[in-house]
Symmetry: C2
Subunit: 742 residues, 2 copies
Amino acid sequence: MDIGALLTSAGINIAVCVVLLSLYSILRKQPSNDSVYFMRRLISEKIKPDPLGLERLVPSASWIVRAWQATDEDVLVAGGVDALVFLRIVVFSIRIFIIAAVICVFLVLPVNYYGQEMQHKKIGAESLEVFTIGNVKEGSIWFWVHCLALYVISCSACVLLYFEYKSITKMRLAHITGSPVNPSHFTVLVRGIPWSRDHSYSETVEQFFSTYYPASYVSHQMVYRASRVDKLMKDAEKMCRMLKTIELQNRESYMPSCLSGGTTHSFTSLNIKPESFKSKTSNSDGLQPSQTDKERSAAFVFFRTRYDAVVAAQVLQSSNPMLWVTQLAPEPNDVYWSNLSIPYKQVWLRRIATLLGAIVFMFLFLVPVTFVQGLTQLDQLRQTFPFLRGILKQKFMNQLVTGYLPSVILMLFMYAVPPTMMLFSTIEGVVSRSERKKSACIKVLYFTIWNVFFVNVLSGSIIRQLSVFSSVKDIPTQLAKAVPTQATFFTTYVLTSGWASLSCEVIQLFPFLCNWFKKFIPRTQEEPCSSSALTFPHHTEIPRLLLFGLLGFTCSIMAPLILPFLLVYFFLSFLVYRNQILNVYVPEYESGGLFWPIVHNTTIFSLVLTQVIALGVFGIKRSPVASGFIIPLIFLTLLFNEYCRQRFSPVFKRSPAQVLIEKDRQEENLGRGEEIYKLLRTSYCQFPLLCPDLSISQDPSTSQDSMPGNSGQKKDHESSKDPESPNPGMILVLTGSRLLSL
Amino acid sequence: MDIGALLTSAGINIAVCVVLLSLYSILRKQPSNDSVYFMRRLISEKIKPDPLGLERLVPSASWIVRAWQATDEDVLVAGGVDALVFLRIVVFSIRIFIIAAVICVFLVLPVNYYGQEMQHKKIGAESLEVFTIGNVKEGSIWFWVHCLALYVISCSACVLLYFEYKSITKMRLAHITGSPVNPSHFTVLVRGIPWSRDHSYSETVEQFFSTYYPASYVSHQMVYRASRVDKLMKDAEKMCRMLKTIELQNRESYMPSCLSGGTTHSFTSLNIKPESFKSKTSNSDGLQPSQTDKERSAAFVFFRTRYDAVVAAQVLQSSNPMLWVTQLAPEPNDVYWSNLSIPYKQVWLRRIATLLGAIVFMFLFLVPVTFVQGLTQLDQLRQTFPFLRGILKQKFMNQLVTGYLPSVILMLFMYAVPPTMMLFSTIEGVVSRSERKKSACIKVLYFTIWNVFFVNVLSGSIIRQLSVFSSVKDIPTQLAKAVPTQATFFTTYVLTSGWASLSCEVIQLFPFLCNWFKKFIPRTQEEPCSSSALTFPHHTEIPRLLLFGLLGFTCSIMAPLILPFLLVYFFLSFLVYRNQILNVYVPEYESGGLFWPIVHNTTIFSLVLTQVIALGVFGIKRSPVASGFIIPLIFLTLLFNEYCRQRFSPVFKRSPAQVLIEKDRQEENLGRGEEIYKLLRTSYCQFPLLCPDLSISQDPSTSQDSMPGNSGQKKDHESSKDPESPNPGMILVLTGSRLLSL
């Protein structure tokens, strides 16, 4: 591939990007698309942008300006810590690759270009290989330039990483202390509650925690098995909401709100009288026997203070570590309820099974990747498919096939990966949606790095790859041989997969089409609500950014031409993701920056890999001095990583007591205890329809219970299930006839 | 090597063993050797065995009978949990190798022997190779016997391991709950105390813990830098004790006890008046300014209950994880004081440095091992050293060189390893002697397995080894080729290193010689005291047992002839170690069975390695069915290991809250709080001479302070340093003249 082909590819991609971004700037101005492009604003700020008349049809760059002008505080408010951490990845990448680009383009590129005494062609027709380290002759004294460049890049990356880690740690702590009362900080998720013949799970939990944590235990809430009735009820709720929408649309209120129990149609909502509940209760929890049967061996246990919750979560409870397994509870919106029913004993088995599944999937994926790899080697293609020779002789087709097609095919295949990995993570048995995303993120990351980077670098056929892997010692040499030659492919991959994916991201093709179809089926049009909103897809976007980071590092001194394209990608992604976070994605839950350690570790991995490849290259090029200088660099990088692991990572695993105790005391002084306990009692709600919203409508008389003392607790605890509370559980009975007619 | 040579080797070793054990049975009856062979009894039971007249010179087996008759309770009382756990390793090995021996000798051995149609020689002249799996012809249908044997051995090993792990976990818990009050359960070791300009470290600690743990914090004790004066004082103390012994020997008390301050000679012990201390105090701790300077950033912090201590130890204290690092304190006797002065920030660096050091040491050791390996291949030896040909032609010399010499040389080299690894573990910065031993144990274990097993199996030359390791895929095949042929060497290794090491162990050569020399230098004779007593050398004995376990497993179905010898070794070691635990070693500290997870993991490793080798062998022997049956076995073994890791290992890392809280309440009901606090204040004593022994001589009036409330704590805390207490610090001043004349 020569410069011309690369520019063709770049041209196509720039054109595609410009078209898509312009299209986006028009589409976003159409009020009918608000639910696609302004979902977050619609939900949280309730603001609908005004229609703008004729201006609606003219593309503009106003969204770029707005995304640029937004401050970090805006992002934090709009997307939470996780969104800000995500943007820090982009900012870090921009910073480090500006440094790398300056050094590599002005220092390394000339050395590569004039590395051999040769007749240079016109720059346009020059092969890309001339710009790689492969062009420097063996034993050249100029390798110190590469070595120096690598030192500068590694050191600046480490310094930048250190400050990012430090500031994100601070951000995480500020998230714990600064946030408004978060019920998850007071709550511990208990799994593996032992089964007993005499007591229900609920009684066992109460007994255990009031025995061992008498001063700090407030109350608890069991997890129930979701039965068919519950699922039916969920469907009914959905249906009901739909009908409500139609009702509103028709602007006639002949149809009374279905939840209030109408008579004109066959929806009947039974307001079950508290007394009927009470008469049937067989235990202190006010639960029916059937409900006791439905209890699972998991519960949310509420504590008086944050510190108490952290202690209960971090201490080993029982002498059998498979029982009374505690961890800090996820946020209420973050809970993945259906996985809570999984017995804790199964979890480790599931984890192993999904790990194996993911590995098998990773290797099965080699088939399409190998096919793609074949496309970049035209000669091979011509030999395999002789009938293509005619087409491939045309210059444009040639450039298209080598420069564009492979990465498009790869990209399409790659779209299937995140949902698969998400499925694996679901089966794994994680208890929160953020954890599921994190687990999927790690899987997608390994997958991407393996299948895009290593397989492309080392490929040929599957068999050759495996034989490559059987000789550990030769890996640096193998990589050193392959990376510079594959740099072309990676450059085009940045152009196609990178730039194009950003355009796709901003245009939100799938939600846009859904929205468009909905217009033809008016009944399914809904009010904007959080259930239809999208959360930020960390599990696809973080691996992508990190992959480009890896490509950037490994190619930096080998084939510096990739860097300008990469920088454009990162700049564009900075704007696009900011825009998306501000306008589209709804932050339903928060992991508090838990993604950063993954990013840190991957960056260190990329750096060390780059250094190992450089070691291999200097070995091949017979420059022992340069090789000698690289070895301490590898060692220092690993040492830096170990330092960061010691210095920062514990905060991402456990919450520091000092911070929590201070926050607790602060709130105690403000006398907010009452308020918090009320919030706790209502926040974790498995079946939204059945949950009495105590925080809004609770009788003032019941909220006066004083906190201290053991008896007070029990009272609290029971009042959370108090059948007398004015918002009792409702059961919606659907008579099927009307349903069918819909 | 043929059966004859093996029997020669066995004969030599049996003779050596019988001689040494008989010698031992005589030596132990000599009263002058009591301090060598009955150290534990002398210290803990104060019993001196009676001289027996003429019987003293006749060898007897009474010690074997006594060791056999001792119950587990006796062992527990004599040696603690760690000793019992050690004996469980031996018992486990005996059990599993009885099963393996029965199956392999009666099932596998005949299959191997008749595996090929061949003319068998007389059994005595039969080569050992005939008894290995190498003798079974390719594609034989009889491999199902090996496969079955491996299944039986693996399954019984897993079942036995499970029950051992379970019972040791119980033992550990019983150790926590059943033991008399152990100050270490109430104490947290804090490192990384932040330095502040305004406060001493002691004040900072008090401030921190009385702020964040007001209800549970009792007091604390700083760690001081050991200055030259302290070292001088320690020497002086030693000297003093020595003089005291001489005094007692001379049976004349013309020399007053040096500690009471005599006048007849130039030892002067200054009883520094409490007032003089008091007048100089500049801070609340009652410390002199110089003493404040000597404070290190580490302290022992005492808590009210066990649970409080565990919480403080398990929770992350500060938002900077390098500050306020807490862990449960080691037992007072277990503390390795000089390492406590190491700043916590250095610890991770030291750990990496020692790891690298240990790896380098491991590879440097290849040189002698390679030399030893050469000796077993006689032909090679003859070629290298032609002048040896004459000697080697003699049959006896031949057998001696191939059967005996290599493992003796190896054994001698191996004696240098444990002290080196102990040194590495000391440099590592561990805070307790048991932890140091555990860390050294792991290092010695890796070292032994690598240098005895792998290097011997894969050797030839160093270069060939490295090239073996560069091809990961071929490892099973390589091992499969090498292990059966090396089985001869391993069998002789069991005979020499195993049996002989037990004889050496029981005879305690080095202490015996020391004791013997002491007789000629009467002044250095000391009263039996714990400082000269030996603690059980877990770090040398556990790796040895595990190595023999590994050899047993890997050779079991390949070369079953090793098993009877191995069983003899384990039986003998059962008797010898029991005897040693009951009579010789003094249990100064206790890790509570922390060695077991190492044993468990190594045994699993041995099993999986055996299975992988079997896979390789079946591959070479073209028995795909047998190979196919091995793969699920490997998977199941790993799964079992993972289950045990989930089920048991957390208890070895963290103490379960439930157990601790119950124990705390029990003691609270008994009203033992006072007693415990008193014990706490005196138990951690860095400079024994300076430590006031409050528990014995404290004024009754000061021990009446009531516990509850914050002010009470402060009082406790200060009273631990109370200058008014009747046993003030003493400084012993040595005037050099007398010292020189000694």
